[in-house]
Amino acid sequence: MSATTEGAPANGKTHVGQALRRKEDPRLITGRASYVDDINLTGQLWAAWVRSPEAHAKIVSIDTSAAKDRDGVVAVYTNEDLDMEAGLPMAWVPPGVTVNTPDHWVLAKGEVKHVGDPVALVIGDDRYAVVDAAEDVVVEYEPLPVVTDPEKALEDGSPLVHEKFGTNKVCDWSLGGGDLEAGFAEADVIIERRIVNHRMAGGAIEPRGVLAEYRGDRLTVWSSTQVPHFLRLFLAILLGVGEDRVRVIAPEVGGGFGSKLNIYAEEVGCAWAARKLGRPVKWIETRSEGMMVTHHGRDQIDYVRVGAKRDGTLTAWHSKIIADVGAYQLLLTPLIPPLSGFVMCGVYNTPAVVTDVTSVMTNKFPTDAIRGAGRPEATHMIEVVMDQLAHELGMDPLELRRKNFIPPFATGHETPIGVVYDSGNYEAALDKLLEHIDPAQVRQEAEALRAEGIYRGIGFSTYTEICGNAPSRAVGPGGFGLQGGGWESATVRVNATGSATLYTGTSPHGQGHETGFAQIVADRLGIDPQQVQVIHGDTDTGPWGLDTYGSRSLAVGGEAAARAATKVANKVKAIVAHQLEAAPEDIELREGKFTVRGSPDKGLTLAEAAGAAYVTMDMPEGMEPGLDEQSFYDPENFVFPFGAHACVVDVDPETGKVKVVRWVAVDDCGPAINPMLIDGQVHGGIVHGIGQALYERIHYDETGQLVTGTFVDYALATAAELPSFETDRTETPSPVNSLQVKGIGEAGTIAATPAVTNAVIDALRPLGVEFINMPLSPMRVWEAIQEAKGGVPA
């Protein structure tokens, strides 16, 4: 194996900012990594779930006898066997709002509410045999009326998903500021659009999986999760054991995109069964299960009404969001649609902005956070409507944007809705974008291509988003009411020989924390990133943490790591100062050595200081031994990355097929820790957005059957559909954290869908198409063309 030692940067250079290749990769490229399904325990049993084929039905009877009689079957459980007092948790209620939250049991109780709702749990000693046995569980259902359309679900007389509420409405929630009425009165032009932001999947290539073992009086759970700390907390509560007796390990996790940010029935059920049976229980999701019962995202119908003056000045923006949240509420379900409301001002100076959200239940699997979580929906609304408005006003879409951009700001800008953006320079990002792509040239190309029957269009998106969850000050009861703190923890332990271990409370699943965080710590300790081991995803190591989602890891967890490393460095400085008889404030870190300012020859390396700290010789009077420091960092504000994207598409009007031929992205997430990792996040984020815009759709038919239940029907983009991407950055420091960074994990996805939609509309305007909703499938595009031509599509 090549044991490349990454050289330290040249004098004066920092590890931060370098495109260091990843420390986690050697195990991943050689097949030596350990995902949940790669772990097996002695005496391990397998679980399979009997799932409802009905979208809504009464369970008349369940006959488990044939399944139980099969060889190798150890147990078959139904709801009656569960001795849990509570069901799966929902952890966010909008402040001051009544939320209709149904019970959500690990196994369905009395009725099933969506296809895939688990009815029985089969445990046996063989991976294949438990699936056979599940087939032998006979469930009699009495079908009940089904509702899958959220707008119909709000009508009087609609079938009710949960009878006891007398309505399908979950809650109404509003966020706004400014005088909307005055804004519309002032407007010369008002446009309205109905925008559909359809349901999509996370699509992590590793299916979910869980392995649970109850040994002695301790529960250990390996789960493909983004949130091991949350999972431990809720397992302890639901199973009635002390949190100290639960250990959750998120081993190598094969992607998440929000879909593994939850407390799932399978995790709780396997842990419960492992305790009951006294043997380890393992379950690995099949892809068709994953499409059914791993949470979905988006699924909004948005009614947008926007007012502007003739010169393009925005005067009022009202959005009414109808969010189809499915049959139950998972961990953060009611939070996600309101997250759109937090960024409905976008990058514009609109004086009055109001967002009204109505969340509705239907007979579908619940929605929750999927990459972007509320912000892609907001950005899609804003940026598509900006293009529509530009056309209405006869303005260039970029001129309309520039007219309304919030001017550059470095230390905070309060929007009318009360959200304070940290820093931004939207004009600069757009200017940089236009250094890479010339819209006039694309339009000339389009002109030429039309002669060949190809319709080329260009679309833009200038966005900002809210991430870095989350300042406890803002999310606590006094702020926007997002329950719970948003801090993150880090412990930096310098080992006696001078290498370091960072324990982070974040829990990566592909982002590259082991490399980026090592760069941050290495700079502060004067060692090489290769000497910094980053430990994550195990609740038995390090302090309590709040895991990875919402583009929070770097801006919150990375800052915690920086602070813990700085605490260590300060202790080192005190030791060095003592030994060299200097003042601690005169000690500086220079080229891997803690030296006295002005005397670069005199000094100690980290290893030498660590030796002193552990052997405890020649330490300052009263100083504790050891070199091990912790930080709990609670940010003062969220961070707000931003940028400008351009998409060029070619549309074949004969087939309706759209091809993305060029993508230019300028993103600003503050100074780069590792530019290579940023580019990677941006690439993947863009494709998540292109995927939703063009190919992906979680589609239920009117009877509540899931039509797109495998990767055959649910089309993830392949390499063949995509171009290479042109990426660049501007670097506007965030005033929120000392690293000056913002999150970048979701930005690409947030920016992407409106750029595609705007490009397709731009391409088709010569054919008379003025507006079209995603997904921009060949059928949808072809129909739009036919309608514009005056024909009625079949």
């Binding site: 490229i29 050689t30 699509g203 290539i205 592909g510 993830l716 392949t718 995509l722 290479s724």
Partner: protein
């Protein structure tokens, strides 16, 4: 227990004799019986390619092959690609070019790419994109994967896969 049949598999140059159910998928034989867990399962429908290995020198999706169908075959998995001392040029290129994030699709992606380069040692970007159509990645947007495969193709030996046992 169902009826079992004997199967002989040569995996990464090592002979294995197994007794398996006729319905056992090759990927489960490799993972659960032989403990080579670098080959992954992502979809069950032959779409994602995470389970791609080489069978008698050609890439196959091992979730869609029965172990009994591989009886007597020579198989190479991701674990067989690097030598004790040296990564395969594709592995090196994926590392250098950040061609992976969560790593779950990576073994299948690398095996598919090795098959592609064996057939077409000097591919264009378009060749690579179409050649990898059968492998899904949700993290990278494929940009750096394509770059890595093109870079690997420039390295002497990337397509001469006999050395690493990739093709027969």
């Amino acid at each position: 227990m169902s009826r079992t049949v004997p199967v002989r598999l040569n995996v990464n140059g090592v002979e294995h004799h197994l007794e398996v159910e006729p319905r056992l998928l090759l990927v489960h034989a490799i993972r659960d019986h032989l403990g080579l867990t670098g080959t992954h399962v992502g979809c069950d429908t032959s779409n994602c390619g995470a389970c791609t290995i080489h069978m008698d020198g050609r890439p196959v999706k091992s979730c869609t092959v029965l172990a009994v169908q591989a009886d007597g075959a020579a198989l190479t998995t991701i674990e067989g690609l690097a030598t004790e001392t040296e990564l395969h040029p594709l592995q090196e290129a994926f590392w250098n070019d950040h061609g992976l994030q969560c790593g779950y699709c990576t073994p299948g992606m690398i095996m598919a790419a090795a098959g592609l380069l064996a057939e077409n040692p000097n591919p264009t970007e378009d060749d690579v994109r179409h050649g990898l159509e059968g492998n899904l990645c949700r993290c990278t947007g494929y940009h750096n994967i394509v770059k890595a495969v093109l870079d690997a193709a420039k390295v002497k030996g990337a397509s001469v896969s006999q050395e690493s046992g990739v093709s027969s």
